[in-house]
Amino acid sequence: MSLLLLIPLLPLIGFLINGIGFRKIPKTLVGLIGAGTVVASFACVLFLFLNFDGQPRVEKVYDWITVGNLNLSFSFQLDQLSLLFMLIITGVGSLIHLYSIGYMKHDEGFGKFFAFLNLFIFFMLLLVMGSNYVILFIGWEGVGLCSYLLIGFWNKNANYGDAARKAFIMNRIGDLGYLLAVFLILTNFGSVEFTDVFRQAAGLKAGNSTILWITLLLFVGAMGKSAQIPLYTWLPDAMAGPTPVSALIHAATMVTAGIYMIVRSNLLYTLAPVTLEVVGWIGLATALLGASIGLFQNDIKKILAYSTVSQLGYMFMGLGVAAYTPAAFHVMTHAFFKALLFLGAGSVIHAMSNEQDIRNMGGLRKALPITFLTFLIGTIAIAGIPPFAGFFSKDEILLHVFEHNKLMWGIGVFTSMLTSFYMFRLLFLVFFGNFRGTHEQQHHLHESPLTMTLPLMALALLSAIGGFFNVPEVLGGGAKLANFLAPLFAAAQNVRPEAFAMAELSHSTELALMIGSVAVAMIGLAAAYVIFISRKTVPVGEGQEHGLQKVIYHKYYVDELYDAVFVRPVNALSVFFHQVIDFLLIDLLVEGVGKFVKGLSKEFRLAQTGATGFYIFAMVIGIAALLAWSLRGLILG
């Protein structure tokens, strides 16, 4: 059996074993199987990566659907992009599995949880490994399903169930767009294989309207999966799931799917400048919106969630200016530090006995030294302070954006300042100052077990050095990742070189931009320091916010807006159909027929007197009548 096939198969086996036998298998074994299969899968990916010769190949497993001209094969693609994502998924995924062993130890659904996690990894691997849009779609739907299962994992809480449904429905809206795009691709190119589609598309002109529609619809799919405006609201609510799930959704799987898909279809997007423009601006708006909401949230996981929305916006902004490599690079570094931050937050919540409100924390750095240190590294990384991972990737995106549009760049940098501010606000409020929780919580504070801290340390290391995979030339680096991924964009570069053209920026400008963004991050840090350390400000309690702060705290009332614009009209329509159409029209018709027959039979049943003599009499009369009728000619002459 091919090693490539083994990679998604291992988590699937883990899912089957844990999923079928989760009531019987002891917890230690469940953890071992759950984490073991993903680690083994990571080892396979690593082996493939190390032996990769730069030649993309497609490995066919079997012919899946063959109808008429349609020929869909179930096949896997091995190339630079799928390798990169496989490494992220299985690598970060393994660490999250390992962490879950400690975090979920006391949960009764331990086995079920691991089964779902494995299934999640399986579908995500399918998504990035599939060699055509349909296999990608299987994974695409699969991760949607798994997110539903895991967000609503604690299904005894109705709110969590609502959050799960919200995620599912939001994703479905996006999925429809994706599906339509696939149909368009199929009718226009006669194939959904990536290689076939891109080969044919390469012959088309830029600005082709078919391509425009395909890319726009694909982007609608990406909006749903990767939480962009207007379909982003599910992501913050997805915090209902156990913390490792948040880490998995936000870092290693799910939300990166949209980015992967666009990078995979880079040729199509390059051919559609209008779509790129749309992607860029929506990304920017999402980045700004997410960051600004993050400023005033008080739930540790909500802040991180909005930060994810914001960072995803960055990635799409990068994609929008055809900076595919930096976007993929940011996916990678973001996977490291966001997984780290979420797992760190999980460790804090674990120590605080399920307290998530940062107003009740403070001064935790002494009680949780390892968590604090790793969280600090994650915060620095996301804020974009060198030499940690986030700096390199974010700066590269900003550099490309600067090339493209100065206004976009300005807003991007401003967002970066907000990011730095709210992340340090979080850090200061949680780990510095005095403890503000209850006495009981303080007594209970403890550092997490090794299965939880080990992944934290590994991710902290990656967040610290992750940026060095792609150090830009100006800082004396080799831009390794960019060179590695370059073959993916060769075709796109051929058809429309101007999209990739970088006006030769002088090194001094490039350096100045870098210094600028670092300075901005520092301003955010300093502001947070002054407010939350020097002045010891604590965010105000519930319902005491004023003005703009109140609007932002309530997430710009977007949920309420959606409720008013979509949910309530649909509900009203349902009520109308229920009360008027169903009750008055359909019931009248159906019940009317029944009532008519019933009334008629009520009269006719009286003929059944039960007296035998009467029956015989009737029979004789009947026969006589029949006889008379048949002999009428004879009688009447």
Binding site: F604, R605, L606, A607, Q608, T609, G610, A611, T612, G613, I616, F617, V620
Partner: protein, 110 residues
Amino acid sequence: MQPTIPDVVQTIPLPYYIWFASALFVIGIVGVLTRRNAIIIFMSVEVMLNAVNLLLVAFSAYRSDPAGQVFVFFIMAVAAAEVSVGLAIIVMIYRNIQSIDIGLLNRLKG
């Protein structure tokens, strides 16, 4: 020469048979309609059957077609079987209600 059965039958004109059979049949009908004793009703039914049989034999003889007589044999055999079933039912009715008055069997009504 010994006369054959059809010859004997044909010594009486056909309308006589028809009138006689019809009279028997009507007697049967009247018996069925007017009497309440199950056994009498049963007997009346038999009378009606035999009226039909007689008619069949008569026609068969006049037309020199044996098919009618074959029919009669079948009817007699089936009627014999039917009599045994019918009598058994009447016995069971009597065991249940200590009477064979069909006026009492009126519980199956709508």
